[in-house]
């Protein structure tokens, strides 16, 4: 009923109104927040180490703990200077409670003396990066022959990657060179066809380097591609198989900037580049913030009204994780924040075109699926509890991108059903394994 042709709810991938303005306006730097929460685990089962106690004074960039133990440990640094006020289990945006450290700022923002790679005395560059807290797949990085840098924006409300290339393209390319140099790997930038300005900028930088290539692709790649590769590696290791996929890795440009800064300036990974969008903020923008800043502080900084904010996701509108509280920290690898004012409709007042209906076999989900699956079949199988058949049809190849649900005219919760299938097949841990924000190395 909602339109001239009252058959289907029609949806198109239209970027929001502020998209163009956001891309053309320079990014801002958020001042250091009053307090930060720094998680020391990705999941409640992870091992961790902690070097500080309650009451200790810390400086910006000081190492306060590690995610993981021993050789695979990834350092966590204090992102503001001040005092440790709490150590223990705290809210995490993805998993309910993990061990974290809460620091209250003293407002002075004193940094520890930076130590770059040459002065550090560490011979292995990857050990140095791990010490600097750059989250990457360090365990298999020596076997990598091709790095893919994903510049495409799957979440169409964000454009932080494009903005990053336009502002700090040199650092991105230099960071990629540093990453690929020890192993002699190739590197490929994936740029979508519509991102013409980014393509030109990257071309001008890459013409001087031989191992780096820029490729135009027709469709954007979701972030969970990285997780899909990782899952395949894990399952193949169980079965004893080797395939060319193991020699590839997908990384994001913001990590390359972090690598550059760590290598040359000795800066640990404490700054993140995020997009803040949605109707709850006055000025949607790309912003540098300190890791561990609380969501409420970020939204307030962007001119939002906390009272009216009803729906907040870390990540975009399609693949983001809805948040239950605004007192959760922004974690590493987060791509952006989507905050919106929302109204809940009464079920009996909804038109039947807003309610879930039966699958009409229109095939729209099949058209848009980036993994080439048949989502309606998978959801059907999961609904009828045929989990093994669903697995044979490629249930675990699903990227959980959410496009199928987005285009579905009958509003069938396809992604939720597919996630449920994964959960049922692998137990509760499966969702945590498929966690694209995971920072601990593999």
């Amino acid at each position: 009923m909602d339109g001239l042709i009252p058959t289907f709810r029609r949806r198109e991938r239209i970027p929001p109104i502020e998209h163009e303005q956001m891309l053309n306006s320079p990014s801002t730097v958020m001042p250091p927040p009053v307090r930060v929460i720094l998680p020391l685990q990705d999941t409640p089962e992870d091992p961790y180490e902690i070097f500080v106690a309650v009451g200790d004074p810390v400086k910006t960039g000081q190492e306060i703990g590690t995610i993981g133990k021993g050789d695979s440990a990834l350092s966590v640094h204090a992102t503001v200077s001040g005092e440790v006020v709490e150590v223990g289990e705290m809210f995490h945006p993805l998993v309910q409670h993990v061990a974290s450290v809460k620091i209250e700022s003293d407002g002075r923002d004193e940094h520890v003396a930076p130590v770059n790679y040459k002065d550090s005395g560490i011979s292995d560059p990857f050990a140095f990066l791990r010490k600097m807290g750059v989250p990457m797949g360090f365990q298999r990085i020596h076997a990598i022959k091709t790095f893919f840098v994903n510049i495409t924006e799957f979440e169409f409300c964000f454009n932080s990657r494009e903005r990053l290339i336009l502002e700090r393209g040199e650092r991105v390319v230099e960071g990629l060179r540093l990453l690929a140099a020890p192993t002699g790997a190739k590197a490929v930038f994936l740029v979508e066809k519509r991102q013409k300005n980014v393509y030109e900028v990257l071309k001008s930088f890459c013409s001087v380097t031989s191992n780096v290539d820029v490729r135009l692709v027709s469709k954007p790649y979701p972030d969970t591609l990285r997780e899909l590769i990782r899952q395949k590696v894990i399952t193949d290791q169980e079965n004893g198989v080797q395939s060319p996929v193991h020699q590839t890795m997908v990384i994001n440009p913001d990590l390359l900037v972090a690598i550059h800064d760590a290598y040359y300036h000795g800066q640990p990974f404490i700054n993140e580049f995020l997009s803040i969008v949605g109707s709850a903020v006055r000025t949607p923008q790309n912003v540098w913030i300190r890791t561990g800043t609380l969501l409420s502080d970020v939204i307030r900084y962007a001119g939002g009204n906390i009272e009216n904010t009803r729906r907040v996701t870390i990540g975009g509108a399609l693949m983001g994780r809805p948040q239950f509280s605004l007192e959760v920290p922004v974690i590493r690898k987060a791509r952006g924040i989507y905050a919106a004012i929302a109204l809940t409709f009464q079920e009996e007042r909804k038109s039947r075109f807003y309610r879930r209906g039966p699958c009409v076999r229109c095939g729209k989900c099949v058209d848009v699926c980036p993994a080439g699956l048949v989502p309606n079949e998978l959801a059907d199988l999961v609904e009828h509890r045929c989990f093994e058949e669903a697995k044979n049809q490629g249930l675990f190849s699903c990227l959980e991108c959410g496009l199928c649900y987005y285009v579905c005219p009958s509003i069938v919760p396809l992604v939720e059903l597919i996630k449920l299938g994964k959960l049922k097949l692998k137990g509760r841990n499966s969702l945590l394994v498929f966690n694209s924000y995971r920072t601990h190395s593999y």
Partner: protein
Amino acid sequence: MKAIIIYCSKTGNTRKVANAIQSGLGGRADVIRLDLNNDGLLRQFCPDFKFDLADYELIFFGGWTMVMKMHPFLTAYIQRCENIKGKKVAGFATGGAIFSKQHAVDDFTALVESRGARVLDFHYVTTLLGPLLTERKLVQAKQFAQGIVKRYKEGKIYNL
């Protein structure tokens, strides 16, 4: 007297009516457009948007009739907003056919009274997706707002 107009519009007819009502109030009214998508998320930042109506004495709710009822966006807002109890409320609606008028009035009145507010008056505009929304109807909408203000100032309360 502080007034607020809250409306939802899809093709722009209700927006025209809301603008006419605002001019009838002498331009001294806050306006909120519920520009939502189908999941109930507001599309753009609206500085005046709030769920708290404590500051206002006179409230105008407007929307288009969908399946002979007020639109879900507006009803969701009315059910959600706070401090509406005891306020004086006026409604306006646009719709394709005049037959929907009584249904819309009944629905709106039941909804507002369930929240403890009182409906002063209701104005219905037949638009038929645009062609029937003439200049004269906009003038009538303006007069409707002026009449409400006049009655409000004189202390008369008009019952449906």
